[in-house]
């Protein structure tokens, strides 16, 4: 699949934003410190809304984007839009009470936190529902998206929490656990991708053309002499060339490096600095992983264009 930058930024950034906000809505962090509340709210809402805005950049008609809120009965993309709006509304009210009234309405916070999780889940389901892309069509996709949203969100929250003084050891420990979980799920997806794919669900040029009974099918002439929309969008192959290198890079930058930085932060020396670096490197690694998520995925239509 074509790895559109707007979609990669949307899924990672709004994931991190909703992850951070979900944790904040649950009352996690030094709530007595106004700087923590303001910065985490601005960062959380900023990333969530920024990501959602980025997603409109690839639309042919962004001015009609509001229509995407109407078909929640059948469409995961529509559900994602509706849930994002509800989360931002409930969370926005919670944040107004918190920042201007100094009150944390915990019931509202719990609702907003659940909505945040549901939003990230429905983002993942946009891809996980695709039977045409067997690499995505599994429960690992929402698990990986949720774990990544929580790990990037918690690392951001932990960094902001360090404004109020030393961060509780539990926050650093849970951050380490979530970083490991996020990459564990990415590794599980990569392993599954090596074993499944289009052939894994029984699809081949033979089933695509129905000519299997006559023998082995090979594309002799493409319909046109130059590439078309379908080939640019769904028969993208560049990513697979460097996949192994990029996987190692993602694991190093997004996994090993933040773990070392979190351990350094655990020593208590220059804590905010290490925590900021840990968040930035982890997010960068998750971005590389998300690029691979799209670039490596095989689409059924490629079977009509010589892919096997």
């Amino acid at each position: 699949m074509h790895p559109a930058p707007s979609i990669i930024i949307f899924t990672t950034l709004s994931g991190a934003g909703f992850g951070l906000l979900g944790l904040l809505f649950l009352g996690i962090g030094p709530f007595a410190c106004p700087a923590f509340l303001w910065v985490s709210a601005i960062l959380g809402f900023g990333m969530a809304i920024g990501g959602l805005l980025a997603s409109t950049f690839h639309l042919g008609h962004p001015e009609r984007a509001w229509r995407a809120l109407t078909q929640w009965r059948s469409s995961w993309l529509s559900r994602e839009g509706v849930l994002a709006v509800l989360t931002l509304a409930a969370g926005g009210i919670y944040a107004i009470f918190l920042l201007f009234g100094g009150v944390a309405v915990s019931q509202l916070g719990t609702i907003a936190a659940l909505l945040s999780i549901a939003t990230v889940y429905s983002t993942a389901m946009i891809y996980a529902q695709m039977k045409t892309v067997p690499h995505w069509n599994s429960a690992l996709t929402p698990a990986m998206f949720l774990a990544s949203a929580l790990s990037t969100g918690l690392l951001a929250l932990t960094f902001v929490a360090s404004f109020a003084g030393p961060v509780p050891a539990a926050m650093v420990v849970i951050s380490i656990v979530l970083v490991i979980l996020a990459w564990g799920l990415n590794l599980a997806m990569w392993r599954r991708n090596a074993e499944t794919g289009l052939s894994g669900v029984g699809s081949s040029p033979e089933t695509a053309t129905g000519l299997g009974a006559l023998g082995r099918v090979r594309l002799l002439e493409a319909p046109h002499s130059s590439p078309n929309y379908l080939m640019r969008e769904m028969v993208y192959k560049v990513g697979r060339k460097h996949a192994q290198k990029l996987r190692r890079l993602a694991l190093l930058v997004g996994g090993a490096l933040p773990l070392v930085l979190l351990l350094l932060a655990g020593t208590g020396f220059a804590e905010p600095f290490w925590l900021l670096l840990a968040f930035a490197t982890h997010l960068a690694g998750i971005l590389i992983g998300r690029w691979l998520f799209f670039a490596e995925a095989e689409h059924a239509v490629s079977l009509y264009y010589g892919h096997r």
Partner: protein, 260 residues
């Protein structure tokens, strides 16, 4: 509404005969010609006369080679396996699936399947051009128009088939009307007595990628195994010397032969 209808009164669609298709691409051109001036936005081209032309087409003809393997397509007359192969021209457009995944993923309600005749259409005034329906389709039947930013797809020439302003003979999709080989047939698959239903039953019409669970309406009629025909034997009459047996021509033939 992107929920699919439980059932449709008619199941309009195409039966495409892979045995007769000659791969002339006329259906593609007729489709583009009709649909660029018909329903919705034109089908744009980018750099059409330049080095790297590309554009929106609702129908594309691929050409495949099918090579027999020891377990598939084997010969009954003992022809060596390595020599068995055939060429299949393969036109592909929207299959107007019963379980159309492109419809249910649409977030705006722009994509819909009509309950009266089963045609899958796009309301281009509502389409936001997110491209998700094209991802959901295993057949590559939907293309996002680069100029208009909306999704284009086969309409089964909905503006021809019910059009009382054109002669009755023309009230079929443009691709069907133009096909010089008679490889494309249009009709109602819900009616067991329709031409397309009878053709499908007689020729063993098949679904493309049934494993995707889309339940396509369009049916493909498989090619007969041409690779088993002995071309030399077929050409024999042409290779032997012509002779005239009787009458004036026979006498003349023999007389001229004697002259040497």
């Amino acid at each position: 509404m992107t929920l699919l209808p439980e059932t449709t009164q008619k199941k309009l669609g195409l039966a495409i005969d892979l045995d007769t298709c000659v791969g002339c691409h006329a259906c593609e051109v007729a489709c583009k010609e009709w649909n660029t001036g018909g329903y919705g936005a034109p089908l744009s081209d980018q750099d059409p006369y330049g080095e790297d032309p590309t554009g929106t087409w609702l129908n594309r003809v691929h050409t495949f080679e099918v090579k027999a393997t020891p377990d598939r397509g084997a010969s009954e007359s003992g022809t060596p396996m390595s020599q068995l192969s055939q060429l299949v021209h393969f036109p592909k457009s929207c299959l107007h699936c019963d379980d159309a995944p492109c419809v249910t993923v649409c977030p705006t309600g722009a994509s819909y399947k009509r309950s009266e005749d089963g045609i899958v259409l796009v309301n281009e005034d509502w389409c936001i051009g997110c491209g998700l329906c094209a991802w959901a389709c295993p057949y590559g039947a939907r293309e996002l128009d680069a100029d208009e930013g909306v999704m284009k797809k086969c309409t089964l020439c909905v503006d021809r088939i019910y059009n009382e302003n054109i002669p009755e003979v023309d009230r079929v999709p443009a691709c069907v009307r133009t096909c010089p080989a008679g490889a494309r047939h249009f009709g109602d698959f819900n009616d067991p007595n329709s031409d397309v239903s009878k053709l499908t039953a007689a020729r063993g019409g098949m679904d493309l990628m049934p494993e995707m669970g889309t339940k396509p309406v369009n049916q493909y009629l498989p090619p007969r195994p041409k690779h088993d025909i002995d071309l030399i034997q077929l050409a024999k009459p042409e290779l032997t010397e012509p002779t005239a047996d009787g009458g004036l021509l026979g006498w003349l033939d023999k007389a001229l032969e004697k002259l040497g």
